[in-house]
Symmetry: D2
Subunit: 458 residues, 4 copies
Amino acid sequence: MCGIFGIYGHKDAALLTYLGLYALQHRGEESAGIVAYDGKKVMQHKGMGLVSDLFRESAIRSLHGSIAIGHNRYSTTGSSNAKNVQPFLVGHKGAHIVIAHNGNLTNAVFLRHKLEEAGSIFQTTMDSEIIAHLLARSKGKACTESVLESLSQLEGAFSLVMMVDGVLFGARDPLGFRPLCIGKVDGAYVLASETCALDLIRAKYVRDVKPGEVVFIDKGGLRCTSLSKARVSANCIFEFIYFARPDSNIFGENVYLTRKRLGRQIAKESPVKCDIVMPVPDSGNSAALGFAEESGIQLEAGIVRNHYIGRTFIQPSQHIRDFNVRIKLNPIKDVLKGKRVVIIEDSIVRGTTTKSRVRTLREAGAKEIHMRVTCPPIISPCYYGIDFPTKRELIASNQTIKQVRDFIGLDSLEYLSLEGMLKAMSLPGGKFCTACFTGNYPVPPPKRFSKRAFEKKG
Amino acid sequence: MCGIFGIYGHKDAALLTYLGLYALQHRGEESAGIVAYDGKKVMQHKGMGLVSDLFRESAIRSLHGSIAIGHNRYSTTGSSNAKNVQPFLVGHKGAHIVIAHNGNLTNAVFLRHKLEEAGSIFQTTMDSEIIAHLLARSKGKACTESVLESLSQLEGAFSLVMMVDGVLFGARDPLGFRPLCIGKVDGAYVLASETCALDLIRAKYVRDVKPGEVVFIDKGGLRCTSLSKARVSANCIFEFIYFARPDSNIFGENVYLTRKRLGRQIAKESPVKCDIVMPVPDSGNSAALGFAEESGIQLEAGIVRNHYIGRTFIQPSQHIRDFNVRIKLNPIKDVLKGKRVVIIEDSIVRGTTTKSRVRTLREAGAKEIHMRVTCPPIISPCYYGIDFPTKRELIASNQTIKQVRDFIGLDSLEYLSLEGMLKAMSLPGGKFCTACFTGNYPVPPPKRFSKRAFEKKG
Amino acid sequence: MCGIFGIYGHKDAALLTYLGLYALQHRGEESAGIVAYDGKKVMQHKGMGLVSDLFRESAIRSLHGSIAIGHNRYSTTGSSNAKNVQPFLVGHKGAHIVIAHNGNLTNAVFLRHKLEEAGSIFQTTMDSEIIAHLLARSKGKACTESVLESLSQLEGAFSLVMMVDGVLFGARDPLGFRPLCIGKVDGAYVLASETCALDLIRAKYVRDVKPGEVVFIDKGGLRCTSLSKARVSANCIFEFIYFARPDSNIFGENVYLTRKRLGRQIAKESPVKCDIVMPVPDSGNSAALGFAEESGIQLEAGIVRNHYIGRTFIQPSQHIRDFNVRIKLNPIKDVLKGKRVVIIEDSIVRGTTTKSRVRTLREAGAKEIHMRVTCPPIISPCYYGIDFPTKRELIASNQTIKQVRDFIGLDSLEYLSLEGMLKAMSLPGGKFCTACFTGNYPVPPPKRFSKRAFEKKG
Amino acid sequence: MCGIFGIYGHKDAALLTYLGLYALQHRGEESAGIVAYDGKKVMQHKGMGLVSDLFRESAIRSLHGSIAIGHNRYSTTGSSNAKNVQPFLVGHKGAHIVIAHNGNLTNAVFLRHKLEEAGSIFQTTMDSEIIAHLLARSKGKACTESVLESLSQLEGAFSLVMMVDGVLFGARDPLGFRPLCIGKVDGAYVLASETCALDLIRAKYVRDVKPGEVVFIDKGGLRCTSLSKARVSANCIFEFIYFARPDSNIFGENVYLTRKRLGRQIAKESPVKCDIVMPVPDSGNSAALGFAEESGIQLEAGIVRNHYIGRTFIQPSQHIRDFNVRIKLNPIKDVLKGKRVVIIEDSIVRGTTTKSRVRTLREAGAKEIHMRVTCPPIISPCYYGIDFPTKRELIASNQTIKQVRDFIGLDSLEYLSLEGMLKAMSLPGGKFCTACFTGNYPVPPPKRFSKRAFEKKG
């Protein structure tokens, strides 16, 4: 996942982009960058780490101009290093191309091969560089034409914020895997992955960029065009389950309320006799509220989260993850002692973190521990931008629910059904990509997919 | 406030101290330090900033030995700079004195003056250095004797972890303002400000250090002695209201459950007709649960906290605090629109932050906003270690509740009564220091108290 | 100017490259980088600043492999920023291209324009990136063929060390403006700008790369081929006057001995009655020795250089240069008082630094101050890699020698004649480029030359 | 050795102190610090490393006030760490004590023990802290009285610059081991270890602080008093041999001219038939000039020094020193080949560096290598501030001159005689401390001297 942000026509463009990235930090903790443009020069500030650590006031002040693009990165394609920090910036024929990308191209290997055969050289391993090369080689007369010609060659998932020749572009792939919305503040247009970024800068939400749509923003305002005819869209349902911030609206719907409905739904599907219901904080908080309301079981915040640590899911290495499990959550013994507890989890990926959490609850004195998961078992990898592990590491891909229950050490374990999950969405069910739960991929996955496809060199 | 930690007789003393400081991070975000002792040499690692930023694996590994003392600092006495990072360490006659202090001495100016007259020189502005000088000048034969002689000269609030000549000491002032508990892990004794530090390192809670007690730990195990005869104690009630972690037990009682009782109590005292009840996350979370249970009003997590920022209260400068208010909390419009809301706050200090939060909720569409505060109005400064602003800046010290309500922009505002607050404690009421609510100081405050007493130089 | 270094087939390739860069530090203080190749992966370490500051032992150890290329940069083309640090490295079709360049292409703007028209995108403003694009677009079957095809399109000055597909290349432009020599150590071939780099790593000097020659080194040893038929060469004479280290042999001749001959020559051409002769340390040291020998005037080291500062000439900004003039050299009053002094300078560029030095000598008590400069007046800019200022700033381009003398504040000033300078060279006069003294450019300069040609963007 | 600097009554006090430290950098490369005083507050900036690396413009600008004291440290007493960076600063009774010390107290262990017995605690291992404690315990009414009382308890070598209560003090021990001079700039008084610091800031040399003298500078100007009656002084002769900068005047005499006389003297005492004479740059430069003049042998700069590295002698660890020997000096083969060479060295300490240099010259082709050293064999350690190794490591302490010659690999080796050395001084011979050559210590050395006396802890 990644967070992307763009703004056109605001005197504090870089500052608002910085705040936008702050709000979108949960979408990528590995690196961040801002590119600003003052009509003549582009300036950039990028680095590894969190937005709050990377940007000092002086850095923001050095990014002049009324157009800016920002990016929070959480590595999927392209390994974790400084060279791969976005936005991607190149000069071409005296103009500037700036690209911020959320998603994953499924034909990246093919496109790169073709471009190299034609004499292009690559300095990073990011999908964004491929897009820049397509733009540079485009025969389009106007830059709008070039953008359309280039984007039409892409397959897979892409929500993009780009600047070409002083024009700001926003685009989503024809199936609309990743979110991207349009806002407005002080007369300036804003593009952002989630509405929480609009809220922070007091921008008004205008609408989402539509699947397959390209919007371009210049002095004439915002205009839009289409990459392709409308098809059935495939919004990533996992954004609702886990990824997006609860205060965001994505794909037109509030995340918090959706999660509460997911909690209510599993309370209906898989009730349980317990003394207390508890979320795994904070990802299970919203669903636990829904579960408590539906079931009437008393809600307790029986696990306390240490707020000085980031989100586990995003950490790259297994070694650090294990350390974080110990340090991140602490159960309250006086709450748990002798109680029958039902825990609300958003999802189970490998199962190891969950197992370790459950062990901690047992040690704290819980008598029974039940778990309700607000999505179906994850059985297939994602090729559209979520960094799930390989099939071999996805616990539900290899074990029955009973085996998972025993592995984790639970008294009972129930997942939400596919139908139940879709029912909890307020939108018609056909809209979503549920490939990670079903293996039905709306766009064919790459033949020989490899996270580091471009790094294996002779 | 500060967090203190000590361990005696564990091969991973520095690592466990590091983890202990991690758990106690909320007690002081400004600086941190660890001193370790291997029987011959002392080693230290200190710095400004958070524990997670300061300590790398290599730093921990360089701190050899089976005794270690750690400190998280949140500046009260002694200004905010690198020189004042604790634990305080000096060599004296070939031995080492290491001191970590939580609290505030009320006779610091007097003691320092006396020591300077006798030829002592001071290199920091910390209370801890005064204690070291008293130790160095003590005529006591054994180091235990010296420690008792020195500590008996101190007035005010002190919970201490010290190492003198290879012996670990823990001590609390006779009124027991600040918490300090004893734990045991792998046969080694541990001292910590709160039990959450014991939990993280899987240490068993043994008991609290008693008010006026000095415990000393060496190869012979743990022994204890007393500074003074038992008096009525004066545990800081604000630790329960705001400061301590909800998963900790302090003064013998769980913080989370106490806060829930505070929420229940104010629901009884000051009921209100509302559609939803919401905490100010995360400090109001526990009380909001209690309030919801008691009142039957539906609990909603209608404000989302950005987890990439620390606790507002602790930030030193007003400038940064204002920035954080904007960036830290985001209301969910879809939850608030058209609703009558009651907000549960733990306390109001200056009122400016609260005012700004309430304005945000109004903008998000709330129809009515009521607030219930789970303590009485704060009217007097604390001389025992809580960094309240001056009386002039304490809003409730200068304004009626109605004025405060109007300043903040609320439809109604109610504080918990003093009696209600004490009733919600599970312990007999006489035990607590409530000076910040009543102005009744259990120990006379210093005559000309100044935060920077030692920095005004000729 | 820049320093370049390459080594093939040595187990400590990166370490020796590091030492080589250390020895070549005088050729570029702005940035440095090393790229190493272990047959599979390339690793790099680069940064702004001096070699001694940039490379720690751990950095060197992380650069595995038996092939390495290093570069010291002193910005000419391409502005002074981190992106422009060499060696330039790209991946292409699974292979690696690494380029280190000393010199300046005179057709860079033309080549870049042509490449951009064909769809290439540029991420830096360096000549090296142009060469990489030419290589990527070459139709040559073998990489040797591609290299020849690409280099034959270049005009101007280039001494290159490159690695393509695991083969190490060294090349000089057909006129041989910049030096490049071949050495051998422990059976491994070495390429370096100056022989002082060979000395430091105890490599044996083999021979110079000839003007217009391309050498390629692989498992089969060293082979060579030619870019063009032999023409009259145009070695940069300013390398002897100022740039190269005195302990180096370049273009087949020792620099120190050449400078002594330059000093002897001007002593013959422009004798002067003085009590003492003094060099401007350290660039005038060698010539002052020659002058003293020839003239019989007593040599005194009457100006002491502070060794904690680098070479003034190389510092980028005028502001810092002025500071350094004050701090760098201190005259010894007891030596100068009442004396007639002749100062030996290697060259005068703007004259401002010299003026300030002479003022200092007057203040120290010198009775008469004469200056002898060991080259003719510099009247024309260099388009082949020396970073002279514009014609307007070259003092001798705009003023007569008498005016220069008066500006600087000298009792007499004499420059070496062009004939005298060429006579002092041990090689036949026709070999050298003397464009900066004569304005006769052996290769046509670019029409609209601009140091920042590639940075003026729309 | 260390460099000390102080200034009273200048609006740019900190900036001039910074420049003074820059000029005195050769006296201590390990750490540096500046303390400034604006009449109310003291501000400091300190750190490990070179002055040019430690101080940015912003740091200098933050050091307000018209009084400043600076220190360059090169560890002798007190180990090499950040805590021991001078100037030493403490607050005492609302006033400030700032101390910069060059030299070594021979009764430091005794004084420290006495102070600890009386209850003083020590936070560093520096002599300066002892002086601060003596000041704090002094019964003197005026601060001048206290300073005299305190300094009169010190034994050994001390040149001091101190500030007490806004008065600037300069002092030298009764034998005047280390230099200290007085200057004046823009009406402000300056104190500095060497006159080269005065030159850089364009201050006029006034006079030396006399042995046993204490000068104090306040609004009333400069006054002076005496610690003790005049005795025969004992100026460190090694300052002339090696330590001081050639452009300085110390003990009333120019260093460069003195070194030239040393070179002339050994040319007379120990002539040799050679083709060329060469200095070891740069410490042998001055003496080589004198040798060449006296002997008539042709001077050649046949060894080139890499200016990107500091002075070998000062580096703390043997590992780094060995690396530097390889990287620092490069002989010019074309100068040395087949020649009989006489090398002028200032001194030989361990002999290992010299041996390695001579080996390099042989490899470069020298036919015969003779060495002349401009001082007698060093046979005894220094207890007054020069960081010689132990007697066991001093090569001349354990071997005959012939053995040394063979160890180093020379064709001949001659040292200057004690008489010859004293004759080359322009001052009467009795003034100097020559203990390192004779073992006659003007002040009794400490009984159990240890560099880390204060760090061996129980």
